[in-house]
Symmetry: C2
Subunit: 219 residues, 2 copies
């Protein structure tokens, strides 16, 4: 792969879905960023050094030429604007709105409900055990994935990927979400279109190389 | 106000933060859309007629010239692309990334955790009473608003509004979130920068006219 050399550093964690999205995005754009691991189970994201980079205390953060960019979707839109080829978004406003909506379903309506800080809260404040946390996580994954399946299946613009035959922002958000759903034990056979797109993505090095188990901080 | 006449119809609900964002956006762009109320307490968003419009069963949805756009942030980006004046986003990629990140904190990390369907789940499955639901909602609001305050206070690009001296996407997401926080009883004096920006927004008819208590379906 002929990666452009850029002075970018991605602060993330192998298992974070939001960092995973940005890893895929960087790979698709052919950008070789340095990776810094923020150990979430050890709460490094809440400690002062990382908070100085991102006051929200969440990963990812992308450092680039003196700026620090946060929030995975804002980072991906920035990548799209500063490195337009290959594009994450189609050219027409209606297509862009469709792709962004498909990306926002996992980003807003699934992932935030089942990420580490929420599961920790339910365990600590509500005394829930791991089985109950898995049930909670499966519930919100199932609701969102069911919606995505309905939005994609049979839609004339759904192709080999979520929108046409090239991967984009919707696929970048879908693949890590399916990874989470699998981890929580959700049966993905109920979502044949999503599973088909997931398999097509897995064939691409940009997606395969971004997988959690391929990261140096994977345990 | 010299509103352009367009054939748009916004399906929303007076109290939905996500619909509120799109109302502000339409007002800022000077677009007079028709409004259709989807009664969330009566679960109209989950019934077949609305599901045919939006399979996810969430508001808002914007109908325009045969298309149906969903997910508030995707709708707002579409409005920005199709109606560029006045802009929601600055011209420079770094500024756009900052504004989008500020918008995504409430959109991803606060609102989805305290919206109606989550509170209903905690009540039904976990047997939580209203006081417990309010505590849950205040917790996630406080975490997110604290981060926003840290991102905005003293930042050289923060102006009268979140980014400079004109309202944009970050303000569009901030104002409804502060409305929710207030409704759940959070003391907003801990967030002086957010409160100052909220007050500046309230002076603008585009924001004032979008407030829940000004909507025909407000009860």
């Amino acid at each position: 792969m002929s990666a452009r050399v850029e002075t970018m550093r991605l602060h993330g964690y192998f298992r974070s879905s939001a960092a995973w999205r940005v890893r895929i995005g960087l790979n698709l754009k052919g950008i070789a960023a340095a990776h810094a691991s923020v150990h979430l189970p050890h709460r490094e994201q809440s400690a002062a050094p990382y908070r100085a980079l991102n006051p929200q205390g969440l990963v990812p953060a992308l450092e680039t030429e003196g700026q620090v960019l946060v929030q995975s979707l804002a980072i991906l839109e920035w990548l799209e604007e500063t490195h337009p080829t290959p594009p994450f978004l189609p050219a027409d406003p209606a297509g862009r709105a469709r792709v962004r909506a498909l990306a926002l379903v996992p980003a807003c309506d699934i992932h935030p409900l089942q990420n580490l800080r929420v599961l920790r809260y339910l365990k600590r404040e509500y005394g829930r055990d791991q089985a109950a946390l898995d049930t909670w996580a499966r519930h919100w994954n199932a609701l969102g994935l069911e919606a995505l399946e309905a939005m994609l299946a049979g839609h004339p613009q759904t192709g080999q990927f979520c929108h046409g035959d090239a991967p984009g922002l919707a696929d970048i958000c879908l693949v890590p979400q399916l990874g989470s759903a699998r981890r929580f034990g959700l049966d993905l056979r109920a979502y044949p279109t999503l599973s088909r797109i997931d398999a097509a993505c897995a064939e691409l090095p940009a997606f395969a190389d971004a997988a959690p188990d391929r990261q140096p901080d994977a345990q």
